[in-house]
Amino acid sequence: MRNSSWRAMLRSPLVVIVLVVLVWFVATFLVLPNANLLISTFFPEGKISVRALEKLVSSERALKSLWHSFALAATLAVTVNVVGIFIVLVTDYFKIRGSRVLWLGYATTLIYGGIVLAAGYNFIYGKNGFITNAALKVFPDIDPNWFSGYFAVVVVMTLATTTNHMLFLGSSLAKIDYQTIEAARNMGASTWRILWRIVLPALRPMIFAVTVLTFLTGLGALTAPLVLGGTDFQTIAPMILTFSKSSGSRDLAALLAIILGLATIVLLAMMNRVEKSGTYFSVAKVATPLQKQRIRNPLANALVHVAAYVLFVVYALPVLLIVLFSFLESTAISTGTITWDAFTLANYATVFGTPAVLKPFVVSVVYSALASLIVVLGMLFVARVFQKHRNPVTALLEYLLHIPWILPTILIALALVMTFDRPNPLIGGQVLTGTTLLLLVAYVIIKIPFTLRLLKAAFASVPESLEDAARILGAGPLFTLRTVLVPLVLPTAAAITALNFNSLLDDYDTAVFLYHPLYEPLGLAIRASTEGENNLDAMSITFVYTVLLMIIMGFTMWLVYGRGGASSRRRGSRRGTPRAGAGLAGSGAPAAPVPAAAAAVVTVSPVPAPGP
């Protein structure tokens, strides 16, 4: 029973402040710059231009690429779920020997991605990959190009995008009431029937939520198709990238982006619907913590073990290879002939020999940390207001905040530079172009949609009675937010912060137009050290940077998960990070329906911390 009346909304000073700041921010940084750019793109000289649409429709290649992007997204929506659910089940649900080691292997996608990941797989299974080479020796008839095109892109992207499943589905699984499983088993249900009829249906809202994220990843796929797609399977993202860099073709880029954006909006609307109504599940009075299930059929057990470890090897190999390659001469890598002599520390020497090599790291760490903290902090308030007050204004603002998911990053960056290159009254007559602040603004902007979605879901799963209780005890909205609600969504917030931080660390697309010359971020430094006609060690140097990035990102994830897990264990509560849901369940309300899509995202699964 949300009290959504306007009066109530405007009576709270906190809500008013949040709304005013939000409206200003959305208008200044999201609507104004992008509207400027789009209007000048689609209405050159004040007249509407349908040129882009005509070009697009008459281009077989563009339509094919567009179709490929949608096909890839749809395929991934299926394959990522299959693999992702399997991973979550073998690490968190079934009793599998060495599940912690397995978890670490599957978690490698948390700490690397993009071109390096695609290249890593290519070096293993590609035309000159060592698995292909080995197989060719035994079966000379194999097509050396077997790992390319649609199939290869789907395989690599499937493995690379199970991150969300690991983080968010795992936590949903942990919240299933174990008694329901015991009850089902008591009635004679088999392991598979329980999984199929009890466990998966309970996870369905979360599965839906991560499916949407997967679909979006598929639509925007860039590097994997470039590296592995071959001529048969190119997607639309590279074309958007090329077109957004040319002022004459920017309308095409925008049009293509908007087509993808429309798909995004449709999905978002569906997601909002599911969050609002749809599936409900009731929280048990006293939830029993989940216990791992033994697979009773010995053959099935063996098969699942084998599959889990095969997958582990597939996941872990590219990472090991990248670490290995960072110590190899580049010719050895590119020609695929690895001998003992080829091992060298020269790549590291090159990286660390570069003057001021440390500075880009510092710059990027500061920018990424600031941006991810600011965006999470800001969205805590925004998500709270959106979740509490549903009306056309908040709905509109919410959709506007998703602009960064719809427009390509490059366009957003360009729009910012061009809008804030003169004193702007909306920001107190300041000029932002050429300052260190603009990149920060951009980083905050592009992380808003992801952050908002997950935080909103997290808030939605907090029982409303908690707020009422705080209110009747006299706590103001800010005090309630700080002392009651934020502690409950903190695990999610911390996870989002870490994910945002990691993804911003090696950003190139945004920074290239926005960075201040004296504060070069890491993505630019990496590109600079790998570009150049005479730089033949580009790939090895990329690997060195990747290894360094993996170390930083691994450390971030450890800060969020490893430590959190350790401290809560000390407190003697249940396994893993402070689990709001489990704590609540103890005092749970059997009759109170909790929107499940939301509830599912509330806490992020605990990570079996490496070490004690």
Partner: protein, 357 residues
């Protein structure tokens, strides 16, 4: 308790760092806004900073008493950035971009005219003969190469069109499909240059577009992250396109012996230019840098260090003999860069939409 310290700490971090950033920001914006601030570090934009060039230029400039900071970006990105910033420029000087990009900067009024002290030592035809906005530094040929160890000179085609017209070369030459980049754009310009026709689509005759179609249809698309020479060594392809300055180091690295296809019409040349960015508060320092960097002495040392072919005639003597020999053996293709600049966007778009594999 843990959590509280976590939040407090993060809030503190945010406030502190924002203050630091903001103070930097205001200091910097103060610098770039107020036209009076002629001091401070000179910001030099370039796409020619890789392979240690950036560091070399910074160090040499320092010796000459110039305090500079190099900002290196890829050609297309750099040009976009300068245009986007033109109302509030961050950089002071730009060098290394080719004629096409400089034509764009000039038409956007993002660069401004200055006649360097060495203007008489260069062939102004290679720069901006009409207005003298930008001035040439270094010349490069965009060449199609092969490894003579694998492909004897006799087996190599004499005209580029043979590559896609002769089935023997089908799929044996690399085509770069990243048309947002400078080199692939020059290749495209070179392909279309002989077929300019005012009545044709986008100013190019149908025959010209057939050439482009053939070129991409029969080529092997470049692999992201894999060098052309690595692919040639592995036997994936036999031919590929490369700026001439990249040949020497690759022959040393891969043990190849590069041969170059020299068509009768010549090959596309790019001339890297230099200019003052319009609206810089450090006009004097920018001019001083240009006078120093383009001088015969600096260009000569640069050429000796980085195997470049300087436009400054006084510096040619310092250039490596094999570079001079190669460049002088390759005739220059006649390309109208001003016209190309106007059309390249549309050409790239058409190619991207219709002809790329």
């Amino acid at each position: 308790m843990h959590k509280r310290t976590f939040t407090t700490a993060s809030v503190a971090t945010i406030i502190l760092s924002t203050m630091v950033l903001a103070s930097c920001a205001s200091a910097e914006s103060g610098g770039s806004e107020g036209g009076g601030d002629a001091g401070g570090t000179l910001i030099v934009y370039t796409n020619s900073n890789s392979d240690g060039r950036g560091e070399w230029v910074t160090a040499q400039a320092k010796e000459a008493g110039l305090d500079i900071e190099i900002v290196g970006l890829g050609g297309a990105d750099l040009a976009n950035r300068i245009v986007a910033e033109k109302n509030n420029p961050v950089g002071d000087v730009v060098f290394g971009l080719n004629n096409m990009f400089f034509e764009t900067l000039k038409s956007e009024e993002a660069v401004t005219a200055y006649e360097p002290a060495w203007s008489a030592e260069v062939d102004q035809e290679s720069g901006d003969p009409e207005d003298g906005v930008f001035w040439p530094l270094v010349e490069q040929a965009i060449v199609t190469v092969y490894d003579t160890n694998k492909t004897p000179e006799a087996d190599a085609p004499t005209e580029l069109a043979d590559l896609w017209e002769d089935s023997a070369y089908d799929g044996r030459y690399e085509v770069n499909t990243a048309l947002g980049q400078a080199t692939p754009q020059l290749v495209l310009a070179g392909l279309l240059a002989p077929y300019l026709d005012e009545d044709g689509d986008l100013g190019v005759s149908d025959e010209g577009w057939e050439q482009v179609e053939g070129y991409f249809a029969h080529g092997s698309p470049a692999e992201e992250g894999t060098d052309l020479y690595a692919r040639m060594t592995r036997g994936d392809v036999d031919f590929g396109v490369l700026p001439s300055s990249g040949i020497t180091s690759r022959d040393a690295e891969y043990g190849t012996k590069t041969g170059v296809i020299s068509p009768a019409d010549g090959v596309p040349y790019v001339t890297e230019q230099i200019a003052v960015i319009a609206g810089t508060p450090r006009q004097d320092a920018a001019e001083e840098f240009i006078d120093w960097f383009g001088s015969a002495e600096t260009q000569g040392a640069f050429a000796a260090e980085f195997a470049s072919y300087p436009v400054n005639e006084g510096a040619r003597a310092e250039a490596l003999p094999e570079v001079v020999e190669l460049i002088e053996s390759l005739p220059k293709q006649d390309i109208d860069y001003a016209l190309t600049r106007e059309n390249i966007g549309a050409w790239v778009e058409k190619t991207e939409l219709e002809y790329l594999p």
